[in-house]
Symmetry: C2
């Protein structure tokens, strides 16, 4: 009998160790998926979630690597007498576990949302003081990803608040990607690497290009500027990512070229690619954009480097992302962006031996005359190049 107890204890202890290892091995490339918030806010239900999962398969999103289906705030309404979170019985009558099973049956992964404070942003029960119990609940339901918000956290210490849920997830018996949604106020890039897989660097994104001047509004370029100003690229790497928030691609507010630049910038930033549009109803243009394998490959590059602003000419900018070497040959991606309101010529000087491919036009440009790439870029449009064989690193 005592031997049996000892064996159980050993098994349990090894289980924990293995899970902690699993935890660290998650999200080696930026996680890709869909989150309910940007389109649906609280107006969610299990049909929508299942239809989105179906669309992942039918629209080709699964084929190019999108895998997490994540329910954001408002799925939960209360706690039962044992303190267990209770899903909204009207909107999720089958229960969360059943939805997770549906998602898993499609070969996809399932994510959910909670909050480090007493209540979530939408005043639903938060996980404060219930962290281990909630982690066990999520594991029992088949959750693979947790987005963990920072509303109603009062004077809580951010590191400790996220560390306790991280510890709980490491012990919950299931690998769960941990998304730290602290909005960047307390510089999570300096403390979140070992407790989570991604951390928000700013407030919520809005479906607009550049909100400068509008209070409490962050557009695509405002968030990119935050990443550049705070020099965040050095903090990203396999298993730990700066999160410039979910994508607004395909949502009203952004033009087609803005969608393209938004997606290109997120790819270059090694950002988690979380779709925020209604993927059940997408234009062919949006589908084509989101399923460009070569652009996604830039994002998912195994080296896990985040781009930096390589050249800044004012209205035009060039971003550079170092990629994994191929057979000892240096690989780079360059994004030439016109953030201004007039067409502008942008030039990029490379080296004679460099081979260039245009990823949006899907064209090999080979070696360039004068080692120079040059293009007139429309307002808010961009050119995304993959360059092979460079020697220079700055």
């Amino acid at each position: 009998m005592e031997k049996l107890v000892a064996l159980v204890i050993i098994k349990f202890a090894f289980g924990l160790l293995l899970n902690a290892q699993d935890f660290n091995d998650l999200a080696k490339t930026p996680p890709m998926g869909w989150n309910s918030w940007n389109t649906f806010h609280c107006d969610i239900n299990e049909e929508i979630i299942k239809e989105v999962a179906d669309a992942f398969v039918t629209k080709g999103l699964k084929d190019v690597g999108f895998e997490y289906i994540i329910i954001d705030d408002c799925w939960q309404v209360e706690r039962d007498e044992n303190g267990t979170l209770v899903a909204d019985p009207k909107r999720f009558p089958s229960g969360i576990k059943s939805i997770a099973e549906y998602v898993h049956a499609l070969g996809l992964k399932f994510g959910i949302y909670s909050d480090a404070g007493k209540k979530t942003c939408m005043e639903r029960p938060g996980s404060r003081g219930h962290e281990y119990q909630d982690a066990r609940t999520f594991a029992a339901w088949g959750v693979d990803y947790l987005k963990y918000d920072w509303c109603n956290s009062g004077q809580q210490n951010p590191y400790e608040s996220y560390a306790v849920m991280s510890d709980a997830l490491k012990e919950c018996g299931r690998p769960v990607v941990f998304s730290i949604c602290e909005w960047g106020t307390n510089e999570p890039w300096t403390w979140a690497k070992d407790i989570g897989h991604l951390w928000r660097i700013s407030g919520d994104i809005r479906p607009c290009w550049d909100c400068t001047g509008e209070r409490a509004c962050l557009g695509v370029m405002n968030i990119v500027d935050i990443a550049v100003e705070k020099k965040l690229s050095t903090y990203a790497g396999p298993g730990h990512w700066n999160d410039p928030d979910m994508l607004e691609v395909g949502n009203p507010g952004l033009s087609d070229v803005e969608n393209k630049s938004h997606f290109s910038l997120w790819a270059m930033m090694a950002a988690p690619l979380m779709l925020g549009n209604d993927v059940r109803n997408m234009s062919q243009q949006t589908i084509d954009l989101l399923t460009n394998k070569e652009v996604i490959a830039i994002n998912q590059d195994k080296a896990g480097k985040q781009c930096y602003r390589f050249r800044d000419f004012g209205d035009t900018e060039i971003y550079r992302k170092h990629l994994q070497e191929t057979n000892g040959i240096q690989q780079d991606a360059f994004l030439l962006l016109n953030r201004g309101n007039e067409p502008k010529k942008i030039s990029l000087y490379l080296e004679p031996q460099a081979e260039v491919r245009d990823l949006w036009n899907k064209k090999n440009l080979g070696k360039l005359n004068d080692s120079r790439f040059e293009a007139v870029v429309e307002p808010h449009d961009c050119v995304l190049l993959k360059v092979s064989g460079l020697n220079f690193h700055n």
Copy 2:
């Protein structure tokens, strides 16, 4: 069926409200009891706890108001697969619930210990991330009092860390006195009033009179000096008390007169009176000291005022505690203390109409010649007076 559900919900909601009210109504006078730490540290077991409870009855401690029997650190060894705290099966083979029932059957109350950090001071599992679950466990066991320590709390915010357990206790379905053991570092007297019933003002007490010069050592007088220097008396009142730590009365390290002064000072400070000695084996002198009803009445006075240092003559000091009026007549307690190492005469000037009683000598002194009380007080000894009919307030 829906009506039934609604009724259950209403009952539940009212239950919570009533409990929150109960919570605020607890500890209207300083809690009195015994805690295992000062004598036994980790060397505790259920026989000791039960024998201490027996001694409360047989030695007359219960009769004078001592009621809480509190197990400090080291009762817990791990958490089970559901995250529930597990008591040491060797030291507490009957389980905590059974001990609580034993204590309750004697007409006493039962208390336990946990920690706001990941681990307790003795590296047992802490309550961080398990607060609501632990509160439910304690309630199910019949716990009436929780001492909640601050070890291994890292960068946790103290207010938030104690607030979450406070919230959990308010919802646990049982009135539980909440003892905030944060050691005074973050000035809990400024934030703990609404979340707990008592808060430590310093590090751990040691069984000595005055440890000045010794590092990390706090004697009786060192803690009194902290209370005076930080002007803590204004923060005490019914339901919320400054806690200068448990008593060392009857433990090796203090002389008989030091025991007497220690107990008198704690009575004057409206301090929680938590015995820390082995009450199963007390000298008659210790029993007499701890069961002096008139001294305890000073501590338990309904006005809930903490004494302040009324006069400071260097080696000698006078403390004053305002008591509840009796039939419109002002009541005060005065403690004349010689903290020095030579006998000293101490004089207290009152008013002609004041009636004086010596509480340790149990003697009415009536009105005084020249309105003056005067006594030669031995080193570390004291005189405790109750004075009726004064007009002056300063």
